[in-house]
Amino acid sequence: MITDNTGGLPRYCHPYHGGWDVARIALDIPQSRILFVCPVSCARIICLNAVKYGYKDRIDVLALTEDDIVSGNYEEKTIEAACEIMDTIEPKPEALILYVSCIDAMLGNDHSFQTEEIMARYPGLNCFVLRMCPITRFSGDNPMVALNKDMMEPLPVELMEKEKIVAFLGSNIAYDPECELVQILTDNGYRALHIQEAGARYEDYLKIRASLLNLCLMPFASSAGKLLLERYGTPMLPYFSRYDFQSIRKTISDLCTALNLPLPDLQQMEDETREVLQNCAKEIGDTKLLIDSTATLFPDALRTTLESCGFKVLSVYADDINRADPDVDSGSILRAADREYIRPEAGAISENTIGIGMVSSSFYGTEGTVNIFYDNGEWGFYGLRKLSERIFDAYRNPKNAAEIRLEQRQEVFA
């Protein structure tokens, strides 16, 4: 019996993940370091992303051999490796993450012995385990749901006095201070706390406990929000970056209600945003758009908005989420596995098309590409205006997926 909701077909995997893997997300915990304990193959993509995006100096790998797995010897080796790392690096990390992979789920390991031993040897260090286990995605939490929650678990259980802080959960890209969400908060004396900010310290991570409100920016962060509610009594507000005007207005209204803030002129904000989008639609004329679910978790909402402003949307490509764009919530992300099997031939570029997201761009061979991943952390009216700029840029300066990929290759100098 087929138990995985894939419709009984093998799964097509695309290589476009915006450079965001589980390690890069976990390293959003400031001043942390990762020790991967896994077969070499599991850590390869992690380390190559780290080289590509410049954080390899925060990742080490203990490569498991067949002998290690059979003998169970790697429990001791993990402690030895952690100690070698801690003894040889400066400055010392505040948190050491032991990252394990699918085989760990199969072996049923308990790592508390290792983390306790390591913390005993290095007082002040927070050592904990995170799991990269896509194999459990149908038998436990979705991996992204689990990761977001597991990143909050190591916070100390002691309560902190509440401050005028609103913490952002679930988005991997630091916010732009120009977006209306941040402006509403800062104009009213609140700190927008996002541990992805440049220069964030470990203390900022600990400060999440002091927030008055947590904003859940992506559906898969709601488990983390629930944990923080239970542990610190901090309410959570869904603030998903759905690209439809009604949802945007609702999220802003809900935020203002929750914090008892004056409501900004939403009609004016919507009118200004519509005008920007309509102008862009006129400029690009008959150019057709394709949207995929790596660009936004709500591709159908974006399609509706764009079409209402005069854009021509050819198709929506959804992978891993329901094509009908349901109300997505933690744990209920419906996984409609991709069932496409015919990929475009080499060099088959469709003229006058722009892919919003690298998957639609590569799959359909669009002439231009809006290279964003999960909204690029640009929400609401501000997000739509930024997207409009990106569409126009892709129209004026079209690059297909292969060109973007080649552009991203790094120069080597002897």
């Binding site: 995997c13 993509i45 051999t65």
Partner: protein
């Protein structure tokens, strides 16, 4: 500490090499994993993914299917996909979880072939061994299964060439340019008929260690002579001691062409090279004694002497641009001190 990687990323694993061999041969390939291993392959180990269609998919292995040994799911998925794709063969490729639960890939392949009539293979890769080992095993089995009666003796057959050995999809043409009468190169820039006609080669050249098991088989079965190594032009240079790091046959070939050079093979335990290790501490100790080190850019932090970057997909996954091309002996020699 042994097995601890502080600087280097892990290198391409066996399933990457296995899938690369089959990529252009019209087979349906299922990596038996949850998704991470397949994403690893398509993201960093297969540069052709962006240019040529290929039928490598993920089985979508789940925890419950792994625990229960529910292999029927895998077979069903392959059979359903085969109805659409009409592949030349079906191959199941292992990863780390199937290694833990002891999946019987040969049995799965046998049952798939019985039910579909399509030649089927099971390769017990585990994500721990090197890409050359995985590729070598697959190429050998394919050659054993698909070659037939020898009807002619013509041209050179290159064995073992893969995109992982170099740094781009144009690398195949550059390698072929070193040989006068190439009939085919398995398995890069090739077709299924090239595989079926492999027995008709007059001579075989093994251009990476991945090609050696198949070369030995073709020699034993059809009497085709083979040689190992790429005949690169000799460099004229008065350079100091030099170390080439990479795949065994290619590193050795370059070191021979440069002169005053040794080769360090990071993918196998034996071969033509002077050193064989993938251990970071051992590599660090070896590189210390050389004036020049030619290697993928990720090795640069380990090198105190003159470093010449030579990116390869098997190490850095195609994220670096070339400064000099891997087989350009003169260009590389010009950068030595």
């Amino acid at each position: 500490m042994k097995d601890l990687y502080r600087i280097l990323p892990p290198f391409a694993p066996d399933y990457g090499g296995a899938c690369e061999v089959m990529y252009e041969l019209g087979g349906l390939v299922l990596i038996h994993d949850a998704s991470g291993c397949t994403v690893n392959y398509v993201s960093f180990d297969e540069p052709r993914w962006h240019e040529k269609p290929g039928y490598v998919y993920c089985s979508g292995l789940t925890e419950i299917d792994a625990v229960m040994g529910n292999d029927d799911v895998l077979i069903e998925k392959a059979l359903r996909a085969a109805e659409t794709l009409h592949p030349n063969f079906i191959a199941f490729v292992g990863s780390s979880v199937p290694m833990i639960v002891g999946t019987d890939f040969e049995g799965i392949a046998r049952e798939t072939e019985e039910r579909s009539g399509i030649p089927s293979f099971g390769f017990d890769c585990n994500g721990i061994r090197s890409y050359t080992e995985g590729a070598g095993k697959v190429l050998l089995e394919l050659v054993q299964r698909f070659t037939g009666e020898k009807t002619e003796s013509r041209g050179i057959l290159l064995l073992g060439q893969l995109p992982l050995d170099d740094n781009g999809t144009d690398a195949s043409a550059r390698l072929k340019a070193f040989f006068p009468d190439v009939r085919a190169s398995l398995c890069f820039d090739c077709s299924f008929s090239d595989l079926r006609d492999a027995q008709n080669a007059e001579k075989i050249v093994v251009v990476s260690r991945s090609g050696l098991p198949a070369a030995e088989y073709l020699h034993k079965t059809y009497g085709i002579p083979y040689s190992i190594g790429i005949p690169l032009p000799k460099a004229v240079s008065g350079h100091g001691s030099t170390l080439v790091i990479g795949e065994d046959v290619r590193a050795w070939s370059l070191s021979e062409a440069l002169g005053n050079a040794k080769a360090l093979d990071i993918f196998s335990k034996e071969g033509l090279s002077d050193f064989h290790t993938a251990d970071e501490d051992e590599i660090a100790a070896i590189v210390e004694g050389f004036d020049n080190v030619i290697a993928d850019p990720v090795f640069e932090p380990m090198v105190r002497g003159n470093f010449v970057p030579m990116p390869t997909v098997s190490v850095s996954g195609g994220i670096f641009r070339d400064r000099v091309q891997a087989l350009d002996t003169a260009g590389i020699a010009a950068l030595l001190v």
